[in-house]
Amino acid sequence: MKSSMKRAARFIAFYVALFALWTILALLKIWPPYLFPTPWGVGAALYSGFKDHTYIIAIETSMQRVLIGYAISVVLGMVLGLGVASNKFLEDTVGSLLVSLQSLPSICWWPLALLWFGLSQNAILFVVIMGSLLSVTLAMEDGRKQMPRIYGMAGRNLGAKGFKLFWYVLLPASFPFIVTGLKQGWAFAWRSLIAAEMLYLSLGLGQVLMMGRDLNDMSAVVAVMLLIIAIGYLVDGIVFRGLQRRLQTKWGLIPVS
């Protein structure tokens, strides 16, 4: 109890200090405001952005894209990861390809996506999927391998087979081992989305960010950056922390990682 209060105090103190530093630097006017925005300027930009619905529409559009893209990645990634984990041939072939593809930043798929899908929603989705699919796949593969074998045996013994075995035994049994990968996949999906949106007039947060640049409006740029951080952080904090807490109550201490 005491230590958590201490941590909260430290947390608040740090951000208050950071904010104070920003305010002081802005007040000193070392740099012109079009290069270094003031806190109140950013506040005003946030206010007007929400008031004229630009940010709300942008957030809605971006969230919708990232959710669709991420959902596809998770389903595909699980199937792929499970395949690679349970088949030696796939592991030697597809498995090595996946690892090597991981070194390719997802935005590098953008030119290819443009040629395949044109300037469209699908091109953006493609980049999002390529961004998060690999980490989900690798996490699932790893989770399937780390999962104690005995659960699969017990499941088969109790009459589970095929899809039922996967859905009721293998998936929940590997969940503690893949939740970190799912979280990482989410972070990659979010980053890839913003990157792709910045390159294309598309209503999303990325485009609003670029619009700030085009208008030379530094306050708006920083305001949108803050929004992007806040959303990424909130999803991580609410969704994934919640999942991990639920796992903790069910499993007790989770054996690995």
């Binding site: 013994n157 009459g159 109550t249 499993w251």
Partner: protein, 305 residues
């Protein structure tokens, strides 16, 4: 030792079975109507290929016949393949040669008529106690209300009715194995395959679970094949004790335990019979030790020590 008393709560066929050495039963493809065996193993061999590519034999021509309702214990030194034998009966692995019959039909895969209770608790940590017990019934497609009713019944049978909504990690080791027993019984199997289920428990808990298992066995009339390396435990529980040799596993001998039930681990008769079994087991243990210490000095346990 040569007469078989029907002192246990169930009537069993008085078939003349050779007590020592292999059980030689003329196997027919199907149930032998005169001596209906619940489980029959004929010439079971299992060979593995190790990582280095060499083949080694784990089980060597195992013959075993288990009549319905019998409590058989299989003992042997570690590494003799006794757990593997259970996996074969459960249909989780496939033998290299030989045939396993269950109720007169060859075993082709897993089935809920043969349920394993594993060494480590293979309970599902993501499910509550109640849902663990209900799992097999759910897989069978049993209706929800019936499932719940039966779950409660079996939880009462193992005295865990109050823990239906607990998660597995909240239970003690002994409670977990009781949940495992309830989960196994809930699918209404004909045979329980128990793989050193009490090996990790403290002595007091194990004693209690022995009593409970004996009670559940006599109440439900199931056939039990129980694997252990603990000879005392085997004699305390089993109608019959089958001793396997060390690598490759062969049936070295069989002992009938004609002691009245309920038994206790400290009964002098149990101790005497256990000693008999242990004398034979000792040779096998020495071999397993020799294999373990192959490089260095070889400690030897003297017979009768």
């Amino acid at each position: 030792m040569n007469t078989r008393l029907t002192s246990s709560p169930r009537a069993r066929s008085e078939n003349a079975r050779s007590r020592l050495g292999l059980v030689s039963s003329a196997p027919k493809a199907g149930a032998d109507s005169a001596h209906p065996a619940k489980v029959r193993l004929r010439d079971i061999c299992l060979s593995y290929r190790s990582q280095t590519g060499e083949q080694f034999l784990a089980l060597d021509h195992i013959n075993l016949e288990v009549p319905s309702g019998e409590f058989v214990c299989i003992v042997g030194p570690s590494g003799c393949g006794k757990s593997t034998l259970l996996h074969l009966i459960a249909g989780l692995h496939r033998q290299s040669s030989g045939e396993i019959w269950f109720d007169g039909t060859p075993v082709a895969g897993p089935g809920t008529d043969r349920i394993m209770i594993f060494q480590e608790h293979a309970l599902f940590p993501w499910l509550t106690v109640g849902k663990n017990v209900a799992f097999g019934m759910k897989m069978k497609g049993m209706e929800r209300t019936e499932r719940q009713e039966r779950t409660r019944y079996y939880l009462r049978l193992v005295h865990l009715a109050k823990f239906e909504n607990s998660y597995i990690h909240q239970l003690s080791g002994g409670m977990r194995q009781r949940v495992a027993i309830a989960r196994a019984l809930a699918t209404e199997p004909d045979v329980l395959l128990m793989d050193e289920p009490f090996g990790a428990l403290d002595a007091q808990t194990r004693d209690i679970l022995h009593d409970e298992l004996e009670r559940i066995w006599s109440e439900t009339g199931r056939t039990i094949i129980f694997v252990t390396h603990n000879v005392r435990e085997a004699v305390r529980l089993g109608d019959r004790v089958v001793l396997l040799t060390f690598r490759p596993g062969r049936v070295k001998s069989e002992f009938c335990v004609d002691l009245p039930r309920p038994r206790h681990l400290e009964d002098p008769e149990v101790a005497t019979t256990a000693r008999e079994v242990l004398d034979q087991l000792r040779e096998e243990i020495n071999q397993s030790l020799e294999a373990e210490y192959a490089a260095g000095t070889k400690p030897r346990i003297e017979p009768g020590a």
